[in-house]
Symmetry: C2
Subunit: 573 residues, 2 copies
């Protein structure tokens, strides 16, 4: 057990990578230290497949990773990847036609603009084109990764989309793949997938350079012809690219200033790799890149304390496990369906009260009893109910509701400086008792009249383990015990990572303000704008499209003209 005050603070986290320098581009008239065909920046879930696809097309590839190891955010993830119309679906006879797919993604990406009668379904022409590219390329990309042994998969025929119940979803199951050798719960998919792709990169001759922070672009005659990267020893390395530089550096989850100034909600960090600091925004701006979808993020609930500590071990709460458990607000009242899919659940914390000028649900308190502790504990998927012997510094205990409330109030007081001074209401305990009484009635009948908990398939997908209760119709609910001990944890909203950055075309080329490609510059993954807008379509809606665009980027970069290689020879050493 780790006490809460042992959770590291931001100041305790030693930097593991070089500091940021000026991102102003430099002229390409100096000789490079290294010359290659394609530079891939970032070695996570976007960069590794991009490098592999480029290499398999016969290119020399240098991969530059800021961290001391490969993997980025993907390594922490379950690495589900959402692949429309994939090969195993077709083998099973599951239909997934493009027009249906496009209606599903458009309806969720832009709910207020969705128009089934519009040629682009209410999306912008750009978004529509990008969604078509996902449909076309995710499956071929996944197949190629599998054929080459870089990322073999197993199909999850029964895993549902996150909005499987809406009429626009004509393929509610079958789009999710996971790394073949992931465990049954799939939670270690990222470690498995990163390991196999890294092994393939080594096997196939990708030149991987760790601890290299790309600081700026090298520009000649309006084209990107390389990068400058720095290492912890203070050196600046110029790497030249004959064909292209492809960024796959992740979003800006860990830059508080960018978060506050772009995102639609005041989130508390998230579970992206700590190296996701928005580097590409500063680097791409001065060469004319235009930004899109800067307001939205892949969101999830996060434990308040680890988020504030900027703990590298933070996991998003992808599954709120347990049946005898509720979330309550500072007044002791339920305000949300605790089993909503994580992206939607995370929005609730940022409900704004225009009467008081406050965010009354900024921190919610998950409360559970001994039953859920005994039967639903797990250290996977960011669950707050964790097994004995694991790190439980976030768990607050009380023998009675009164004692629990006092301990929660005490814990909250440590975070007043980052919550706008949020405290428990004086009536918290009586309200909580009423809340539990009402919830228990719902649980006995299996029907949540307030928030409809457990009514949709996705809510069962993430219910986690619960004590078996024969005959029960709704496994997401069970009455909370009338006697202690009770447990609690402070929960708020965060990001897996952000969704905004330079706008790219369907070939992953970064576009300028007139929509023209900036020659030689590409982007893939969370460092560039996602056409998903506000939607989280399904599990793996992050990595499926990323792999699709990795494939398209590599193909387009391969077709680039060679840019004056004679000026790019390495300097004599």
């Amino acid at each position: 057990m780790v006490a809460a005050n042992q959770i590291p603070t931001t100041a305790d986290v030693a930097p593991t990578h070089p500091a940021r320098e000026s991102a102003a581009p430099v002229a390409g008239d100096r000789a490079a230290d290294v010359v290659t065909d394609v530079i891939v920046v970032g070695g996570g879930g976007g960069g590794l497949p991009t490098a592999l696809f480029s290499r398999w097309l016969g290119n020399e590839v240098v991969l530059l990773e800021k961290a001391p190891e490969l993997g980025g955010t993907a390594k922490k993830a379950a690495f589900w990847y959402w692949v429309p119309n994939n090969v195993p679906m077709r083998a099973l006879g599951l239909s997934d036609e493009e027009p249906d797919f496009l209606r599903y993604v458009a309806r969720l990406a832009r709910p207020t603009a969705y128009d089934p009668t519009s040629p682009t379904l209410g999306l912008s022409q750009w978004e529509y084109g990008m969604c078509r590219a996902i449909y076309d390329s995710a499956s071929p990309a996944a197949e190629l990764l599998a054929e080459k042994g870089a990322l073999e998969y197993r199909h999850c025929p029964d895993v549902v989309d996150y909005w499987s119940e809406i009429p626009e979803d004509k393929a509610p199951t079958g789009r999710v793949l996971v790394p073949r050798d992931a465990r049954d719960t799939m939670s270690d998919g990222g470690a498995v997938g990163v390991a196999s792709m890294a092994a393939a990169a080594e096997r196939d001759g990708v030149d991987v350079r760790l601890g290299h922070r790309v600081q700026r672009l090298v520009l000649r005659h309006g084209a990107i012809v390389g990068v400058e990267a720095t290492t912890q020893d203070g050196r600046t390395h110029r790497i030249a690219a004959r064909k292209a530089v492809i960024f796959a550096t992740g979003g800006f989850t860990h830059d508080v200033d960018l978060r506050r100034n772009f995102l639609h909600t005041p989130v508390f960090g998230g579970c992206a790799a700590l190296t996701n600091e928005g580097d590409f925004l500063a680097i791409a701006g001065p060469v004319g890149a235009q930004l899109r979808n800067m307001n939205y993020a892949w969101m999830c609930p996060v434990p308040l304390e680890r988020a504030v500590a900027r703990d590298s071990r933070l996991s998003g709460m992808f599954s709120v496990a347990g049946d005898s458990t509720v979330f309550v607000d500072k007044t002791g009242r339920r305000v949300v369906n605790e089993k909503l899919q994580y992206n939607e659940l995370a929005q609730k914390f940022f409900t704004y009260d225009g009467d008081t000028g406050e965010y009354p649900y900024l921190v919610l308190v998950q409360i559970w009893d001994q039953r859920s502790q005994d039967h639903s504990a797990s250290d996977e998927y960011g669950r707050q109910i964790v097994p004995a012997g694991t790190d439980d510094g976030h768990v607050i205990r009380g023998e009675t509701l009164e004692a629990l409330a006092a301990a929660v109030a005490d814990r909250l007081s440590r975070y007043a400086h980052v919550t706008g001074g949020l405290t428990l209401d004086p009536n918290f305990v009586p309200n909580l008792q009423q809340t539990i009484d009402r919830f228990n009635g719902f649980a006995e009948r299996g029907v949540d009249e307030d928030f409809h908990r457990g009514e949709k398939p996705v809510q069962l997908l993430f219910n986690g383990s619960v004590k078996d209760e024969p005959g029960r119709t709704n496994p997401t609910m069970w009455p909370i015990s009338s006697s202690g001990p009770y447990y609690a944890s402070l929960v708020t909203g965060g990001t897996l990572d952000t969704k905004g950055g330079p706008r790219t075309n369907t070939e992953a080329q970064v576009l300028d303000d007139t929509g023209q490609p900036i020659p030689g510059l590409y982007g893939v993954g969370n460092c560039v704008a996602s056409a998903s807008a506000q939607a989280y379509w399904a599990g793996g809606a992050t990595l499926g499209p990323i792999i699709a665009f990795a494939h398209r980027a590599a193909q387009a970069a391969d077709r680039e003209p060679i840019r004056e290689p004679r000026q790019l020879t390495p300097s004599p050493s």
Copy 2:
């Protein structure tokens, strides 16, 4: 009377200014058509005072305005300006100390980060410094404009801040000034203020050029030395600046793509001048400017139909007038205090329902009876209850609630393509009747138990005219009649204008990614990042700070070194 189907559509709006071209900066090695000391781009509430302040310091000033007339958004506004610690306040003995001012603005700008024990109160160092600059400079700037006869003011000692009730507001009244010759209701302040500043500009020799759209910067040795602008005749004009180029071009309210990709809510346009298309974002990006506060806007409810039509006459609904009136949602239920200050009321339309993936309050229906029609009609401040003989195309009528609901449903159906298919609930009429019954009970007792209508001073400030009812304690409510006719209007959320853009320092210099000024480039007003973050502190919290930074920009630009004027002489003509 104008029928609703006569409201112009976007396609009908003829362009009044040159089209956008590439914003890529050009080299400064070609001779200019015109040379001046300071170029001011934009002739609205930011550009006019900036030009005047620069001119009064002895500079040659060219002002370039895209539209065929001066005024921009300010001309449409009431032109309140919020000036902390202003001279009339001091004369009245109203105290407004800087530490109190800073706590008030910080509490509202960043509610979740506010920390009274922090040296910057939870703001970023940049935000804190900008707020101090507002406190220091708004009053001297206002005084200078008045002394010079460009913008004489009258003090509004009784007008309250928008959050006058919170403990951080130690100067709840007295910070608002309006143009001296505005009418009693102050609604024509913008026309008055723009006219007097434009007259001063002509009197004092500012070289005003209308119909000039600035397309890009002229760059030499890393410094901004001029701009290129185009005119409707297809010509490109190069104007050189010996000292500085100061942008004051407004926000991006009228660029739907920028709105969707940056703002925290999916708003429907707004009441900014139609020329506010975010030009400075494309122009400043390629010279390395970093963007801030791109997520927030000055918000207000707007009439749905005019917003969709992109009608240049659109006014934000700054005052929801009437007592026998309510807003209801598509189910016929009240969901908000209709008298909330406009920026806060506008947030409500964008409440997201994570269970259904919809924005259930995207369009609310204002409903009123003959009493409010007879006693609260006004064409000022964007009120929807308008007098006979004025443009009432937005008004929907019905002799009974059933007839009204049918007419509302019909009107809504015309907008299904821009509301995600929003329709009235089948139970709208019975729910509406229940809503009216409940509201009428509150109105009789003067207490709104659901939403607290009329409980705060700011809600009385914007109540508008209502029929006098001796002895009434809450003038914001009166029972809605049990007999028709009834009236309705479709309401949604929009912007006055947006708040984001390049980050500037306290001298209004645009900053690069390392926080260093880009030599010669300045920005003022809604085209650059506002340190107000999400807050709308008070009426005039737009123009007060803008005037402060106009003053600071002009002073700093005046101190700039002359940049190689021999290369900037006009070409022989």
